[in-house]
């Protein structure tokens, strides 16, 4: 049993926090994992991605081979499309529909979402709306994690335990908002 996930987004959008939650949940379940991430120059508002590999057997490569990714999990719709050629022919794309426009030539959003929908399976969630509903617009990454959680080989309770550990130091309201963001994302994905 294995699961390879490409986490995508723009530097500063919190994909490393998603990775942190998945890493720790995987460790708690006794799974093998490797997770390659991008630091340094690209983190300054550039396209960033993280290769997340979970398996019941030892993992060799830190990078996912093209064609092995089971899921693309993106905090930003344009970034979801950048790695489609890593996806298995039966893979799933879970993405936010909220664009992050820090470039002058950002494509038409409808065209982007249409292209996402052409994936074998696509889950698109309005992370901005759901995060605001949860209490903080900063929790969009956790909305996406919630949306993906139903498709992960990890237990929901395990993911939530790590989210609690991650946010408990930042006060009750922040923790509550992130747990709610997770639930709202999960619910939105189950309806799609």
């Amino acid at each position: 049993m294995k699961q390879d996930i490409i986490l995508a987004g723009v530097g500063g959008q919190g994909i490393l926090s998603i990775a942190y939650v998945i890493d720790n949940a995987a460790l708690a379940e006794g799974l093998f994992f490797k997770q390659a991430e991008v630091h340094g120059m690209a983190q300054r508002g550039g396209a960033v991605q993280s290769h997340m590999r979970l398996s019941s057997r030892p993992v060799w490569s830190d990078l996912i081979p093209r064609g092995e990714a089971d899921m693309i999990l993106s905090v930003e719709p344009l970034e979801a499309l950048r790695y489609l050629d890593y996806l298995r022919p039966d893979g799933i794309v879970v993405t936010s529909s909220t664009p992050y426009k820090n470039i002058p030539d950002y494509p038409d959003l409808d065209n982007i979402l249409d292209a996402v929908r052409k994936a074998p399976k696509a889950v698109i969630v309005d992370s901005e709306k759901l995060a605001k509903e949860a209490g903080t617009v900063k929790a969009q990454n956790i909305v996406l994690l919630g949306a993906a959680s139903g498709f992960l080989m990890l237990k929901e309770a395990g993911l939530k335990t790590v989210i609690e550990a991650l946010f408990k130091g930042r006060g009750g309201p922040v923790l509550e908002a992130n747990l709610k963001a997770f639930d709202l994302g999960r619910k939105a994905a189950s309806g799609s």
């Binding site: 630091h39 340094g40 996912i64 470039i103």
Partner: protein
């Protein structure tokens, strides 16, 4: 001791601490920064060892060497080009030797994710004739670093730990082992450490004498794994570091493996290499970085009757980072079926200066001021402000190495370029900008130096800067720049016109001027607020 999640960088750092580290030093640089970040955090908790950012890599190396002289175990870490800066003490420390264990971590950046070149640190280990480890995964990064201290003390030499970005910045879980204590103080012998010719010749002889023993040790290392396949003797694979991971990935979890040798230590395990080569018809070398092993294997004339494949032969790309896909192709395997790209043209998203970044305002003012000086040259340096080379600023013309902006502007000014302008950050100035400015001040070179003081080492995540604020101004004056030619500006949109005026005055001045743009990095301001 249990399992914990670590970056490759952190696994090295923790391995060093558990090997009895007394002192670690570093200058930030991607992908090595997280080694010292981790050590600084751990030292603050434990308070039983030193972990310090240094002014530059040469200084860091010498600080570590001093700790080793005193008999304590020391670590110095930097990115690959940092080893260039530290090359002088590194090469000579192969002659002084290490007293307390000394491990040198150099993190290479194949593919140049965040670097000016993709030089391969294994050549430096060979150049200095010291032992080198190349871990493939996190557990090895931890285990090899621990063993590297034993090897350093056994041979009385520094040991190089070669990392690559892909391992440095990958996370996985590591099983840690019982830590051991630190060394007692026992300073080195002056006749070994004073490299006067009479001593240096003797020490170099000793270094040469140790080579054979180091080669035998490499051959016997359990980290080098040889597996011979007796059924199929056509192809053998020599795979080093993360290249080994890609090789195993391509073969699949249950696939039949060709004969292979996993290389983890240098000098190359010659006996093992010979056994593999004799067993097979052709050898594919899978190594990230330069074709270091492949070149040694082929020598000038190749191996009679054998084919050697790799980056030189074209079986793998000559440059750039290896990938599971390129290694798969080199093994003659078909690509995996994958989804096609959408066909929609995807706008690129390059890195850029943050919203509200002080550098943006400085570049806008500089560009405006330079409009009336068509013959100018703007020399820049390593840091966030290097992004000023990209649109919409297009403000700088060079980025070579730490501190080069000031020295190059001086050379260009001497050659007749006017105005010659240098743009450098406060941390890079402290690293390698002070000495060229001292030289330029001594002869009042006709140039204008911009020091962008954002009070941090921003690009690598906000490490401390040694020459910032009032101290920076005192340094500049102390170097001999006349007080009236040191101007400060506050790079904010509301000050644009005023700043352009000040810059024009200094560009007009025939002689050396320094303009210090003072405003804190927005990322640091944000960190303080949260």
């Amino acid at each position: 001791m249990g399992r914990q999640i670590l970056l490759g960088d952190e696994a090295v750092a923790l391995g060093a601490v558990h090997a009895g580290l007394s002192a670690g030093y570093s200058y930030p640089g991607t992908p090595a920064s997280e080694i010292m970040e981790f050590l600084v955090r751990l030292a603050a908790e434990r308070k039983d060892f030193t972990a310090a950012w240094s002014v530059n890599e040469k200084v860091a190396y010498e600080e570590a060497l001093g700790a080793s002289f005193a008999g304590k175990r020391a670590l110095v870490s930097f990115k690959h080009v940092g080893l260039n800066v530290a090359a002088d003490p590194f090469m000579n420390s192969a002659l002084t030797g290490a007293n307390g264990g000394l491990v040198v971590v150099s993190a290479d950046d194949p593919g140049m994710h965040s670097s000016q070149n993709e030089q391969d640190s294994r050549y430096f280990a060979q150049f200095a004739q010291v032992f080198c480890y190349e871990p493939a995964d996190h557990q090895e990064a931890y285990d090899m670093t621990r063993e590297a201290y034993d090897v350093s003390e056994r041979f009385g030499l520094p040991v190089l730990m070669r990392l690559v970005t892909r391992l440095s910045h990958s996370r996985s879980s590591v099983e840690t082992k019982e830590p051991r204590g630190q060394n007692e103080l026992h300073p080195g012998a002056p006749r070994d450490w004073t490299l006067l010719p009479v001593n240096a010749r003797r020490r170099f002889g000793l270094l040469l004498d140790r080579q054979a023993e180091m080669a035998r040790f490499s051959d016997g290392s359990a980290f080098n794994v040889l597996r011979l396949n007796d059924k199929d003797r056509s192809l053998g694979v020599i795979a080093a570091g993360v290249g080994y991971n890609y090789f195993r990935e391509a073969c699949g979890p249950d696939g039949d493996l060709p004969s292979f040798l996993k290389v983890s230590t240098y000098p190359l395990p010659e006996g093992l290499v010979r056994k593999l080569v004799e067993h097979v018809g052709s050898v594919l070398v899978v190594e990230d970085g330069y074709p270091f092993i492949e070149k040694q294997l082929k020598g000038l004339f190749g191996i009679a009757g054998k084919t050697v494949l790799g980056r030189l032969s074209g079986a793998l790309p000559r440059s750039g980072e290896l990938s599971p896909d390129s290694v798969r192709a080199a093994l003659g395997l078909e690509p995996l079926p994958a989804l096609a790209k959408s066909g929609l043209p995807l706008a690129g998203r390059p890195p850029q200066l943050c919203l509200g970044c002080p550098h943006a305002d400085t570049f806008k003012a500089l560009n405006k001021a330079l409009e009336s000086y068509p013959g100018s040259g703007v020399f820049s340096d390593i840091g966030c402000y290097t992004l000023g080379a990209l649109p919409p600023y297009n403000a700088i013309e060079t980025c070579v190495c730490m501190g080069a902006s000031i020295s190059m502007a001086r050379g260009a000014s001497d050659a007749g370029l006017r105005p010659a302008v240098s743009v450098i950050g406060d941390s890079t100035f402290a690293h390698s900008g002070i000495t060229p400015l001292l030289g330029a001040a001594a002869s009042d070179v006709d140039m204008t130096v911009f020091i962008l003081d954002n009070s941090t080492t921003a690009m690598t995540g906000g490490q401390p800067s040694f020459g910032t604020g009032e101290r920076l101004l005192r340094i500049i004056e102390g170097l001999g720049v006349p007080r009236e030619r040191v101007r400060t500006i506050d790079p904010l949109p509301k000050n644009h016109e005023k700043n352009v005026g000040i810059i024009r005055e200094e560009l007009d001045h025939r002689g050396l001027s320094v303009v210090v743009a003072v405003r804190e990095c927005v990322q640091e301001t944000r960190k303080k607020r949260s």
